[in-house]
Symmetry: C2
Subunit: 481 residues, 2 copies
């Protein structure tokens, strides 16, 4: 794809009109009609044209027999007919001057037959000959909350600064919903499936130049032009963090890739070198992916590895220290000045004064927490702060704690030396009351732009990735400065 | 401790009477009075005697000026006076013929002063001279739901087959509450704090012989008699799985141990060898600890590493396969017979037929799930099954699924060839409705004795530990058989 085309990929995400080939009056099962239904439900801001030669109306919208009978050339056409009918539909698009096509239909190379592979080659050949930009086949296509183009994933979604490029529709659906529920908005998501025409690098190049996008999340199983992807990633990564979930790392996973998107997952060693050389942030599963994107989207840059841990309980302090070190971060001693400030109000018996700081009172009296945060923000040994925000539970016989989230958020956001600060709230298990309270508390923090995690280990995993990214580029930044 | 004493540790957990030295009429803050309150609240089945020379009544109970004024010699005395007053209280216990003492008081070796260490040595010397069995100091003491001796942790708790030995009160409180909320009961828990007299091996030896206990969970920071602990663990482990969270693995964690329980955490290499040689199951944090205990307490033995994955979505299938392999498990191909049984009802396009099996219909029609489980249970390549139970969510536009938990549980529990089977339910995030539905579903499975996890990675982590344990002892078992 040439540069002029890449810039134009915006057309997939902000179409003013969409025609859908392959809608029926009867079936609402997965396909064109369900997409139409979901576009309507999400309140898509443009015009929708169902194409069906046998219907005058579908879901309350006027239906048209063909693209040629439409009152305008649609900005985007979605094809949802049977696989063997896709080539004819593409020819129709081309002859009507359509440029952007999303092929939802599955049944191409991913089914593992020669017929499937041939059909996919034919699709690519038509795109080449007729100058069509195609997303797919076998994919969910574009997603863009700002124009309510949200037939899948979080509906109507939340506009934000995340860009997503993914080879799995299901994974992307879950990811957009998950990340949006934690307060992080999405600018554009591309579910590219078999990526027979436009591949990951095309969208990466596009999102690299898109000013609305600040962080790029990628789910990748395979890549056609590895060299181009590597060079692009190395170029983009210092400007925009790329958080990448690579599927098919194992032999078994790679075998599954073949039947998922009909492609090869590539050598694990190559991918390890890729991450080391580009600074792209690797994650291994959905939770790590969301945790990292939440962290990168909310926090200011970290200047180092030193984590200050505030929590309650001696055993937790020990376990949390171990977790930090295991993740590659440090738990440095506080400076002499910090210790002198802490000593007067942390009792010597039954507490652990220092780093970690085991200090229940911080949760009963928010002013104490502010003193502690202030100490940490001024301590040169400390670069990031994790607060294990205890929640009242029967086991601890702890009193109800004041809901001081807004005050805490204000304190952190207005502190002139605030360092990256995250919260952990431990509510997992089978106690519905604890789950409700804990998840609400977590949501309050996240919605206010302070990352909060359901376990210490997930928090530390995210901070470790966050630090590693900035550590990777620290020399480059120094040179620039 | 000699064998005859060890057997008698039962006295800590099933006392018919408890005297508490160090209760006040005024303060309900952490200490003797709050313990008394919580024993009353939990409905402790025995007699409670508050000792306070200045009060006639505490919390509605008749108070006594001293142990000597009690109508009986109490089975257990809890000491909650100031640290420097503990020796005198111990002398009083001894002179009244008391055998079992729980010292709640902190302020001994863990505060890091010579005075603190001296006081702890004095406590140990009195125990030795006067033949006292002491839990503590600086600990929450015994916990036993069957007699409602549950002043801390899950209240009133749930009787079961788990034994717990822990050097952290806070960790044990959370652990008992957490595990009980997921349907796993506790026979006895010992929070042993600084363990100045009775140490972990004493309780381990006791729990090894206790028929009510089938699985032993340990939180350990340090050990006095490493050789004895090693030999005991090696002896007990083949009969009763020991799931151990070792705190102080890192240098920073070990430094925290010193200020937590005043002891040394020991060399990491030694502990690695310990786990390899004993078959004790290592975990690194609270979630892993609970996940492993849940798995060991619910599942029949596994015969191998082959996991069959049932779920929905191609990308998930790829990611899950990778996770299995990364955890040290296998994702074997199904047998030819199994494939022949699956083919007729799994569509070729849009699905992945095999292992993993990507098959939404399994969740819409429970009979399909049963067919699939039956195939897996009969397939010689498969040893364990993970079902990623999808839940209805907006992002997938999925219909409400029938609540078939009871049917599923019945099917698995009555299948004559059932293999270890777990469920994962992905409800993390900030959507309250999803969290409520998902956590309820998880609880239903767990309460019915089918382990269910909030993420695939947590499930696979638990199954990997489970398999490793049985793999460790497979030769020994074969010889015996």
């Amino acid at each position: 794809m040439g540069h002029h085309l890449v810039r134009k990929l915006d057309g997939f995400f902000k179409p003013e009109s969409i025609a859908i080939i392959g809608v029926s009056r009867e079936s609402m099962s997965f396909g064109g009609t369900s997409f139409l239904h979901h576009y309507l439900q999400a309140g898509y801001s443009g015009r929708l044209y169902p194409i069906n030669p046998k219907a005058s109306e579908v879901l309350g919208l006027k239906a048209y027999p063909s693209l040629s009978s439409l009152p305008e050339t649609p900005d985007l056409v979605m094809i949802a007919v049977r696989a063997d009918l896709v080539p004819a539909a593409l020819e129709e698009c081309a002859s009507q001057g359509v440029r952007y096509v999303h092929v939802l239909t599955a049944g191409f190379s991913e089914i593992g037959t020669e017929e499937g592979r041939q059909l996919e080659r034919r699709l690519a050949a038509i795109a080449e000959e007729r100058n069509l930009l195609i997303m797919g086949p076998n994919c969910m296509g574009p997603y863009c909350p700002s124009v309510r183009l949200t037939a899948w994933g979080a509906v109507p979604g939340r506009d934000g600064n995340l860009g997503i490029i993914s080879q799995s529709g299901g994974v992307t659906q879950r990811f957009t919903e998950y990340i949006c529920s934690l307060g992080v908005g999405v600018s554009k998501a591309a579910s590219i499936g078999n990526a027979a025409v436009l591949d990951n690098p095309d969208f990466l190049e596009f999102m690299a130049d898109d000013e609305a996008i600040r962080i790029i999340a990628i789910y990748l199983e395979s890549i056609r032009d590895g060299r181009r992807f590597f060079e692009l990633a190395r170029d983009v990564s210092p400007r925009k963090p790329i958080i990448m979930l690579k599927g098919g790392e194992s032999e078994q996973g790679a075998a599954t890739v073949a039947s998922h998107t009909g492609r090869m997952a590539g050598d694990q060693k190559i991918w390890r070198a890729f991450f080391e050389q580009t600074g792209v942030v690797p994650v291994s599963n959905m939770n790590e992916w969301v945790d990292a994107c939440l962290t990168f989207s909310c926090l200011p840059k970290t200047q180092g590895k030193g984590v200050f841990i505030v929590g309650g309980g001696g055993g937790n302090s020990v376990i949390f220290s171990d977790s930090c070190i295991r993740a590659g971060l440090d738990v440095p001693s506080l400076s002499r000045e910090s210790m002198a400030r802490i000593r007067p109000f942390v009792p010597i018996a039954g507490s652990i004064a220092g780093n970690p700081l085991d200090f229940w009172e911080a949760f009963l009296n928010v002013k104490r927490l502010f003193e502690i945060l202030d100490i940490a923000y001024e301590d040169p040994n400390i670069h990031m702060v994790i607060v294990d925000r205890l929640i009242p539970r029967i086991a601890f016989h702890s009193p109800e704690l004041p809901d001081s989230v807004s005050e805490i958020v204000d304190f952190i956001k207005t502190h002139r030396q605030a360092k990256p600060t995250v919260f952990t709230i431990d509510y997992d298990g089978g106690d519905p009351d604890l789950i409700r309270k804990g998840s609400q508390l977590r949501s309050h923090f996240c919605e206010a732009g302070i990352p909060a995690f359901p376990s210490f280990e997930r928090a530390i995993g995210a901070l470790a990735r966050f630090q590693k990214y900035y550590g990777h580029f620290v020399e480059r930044v120094k040179t620039k400065g």
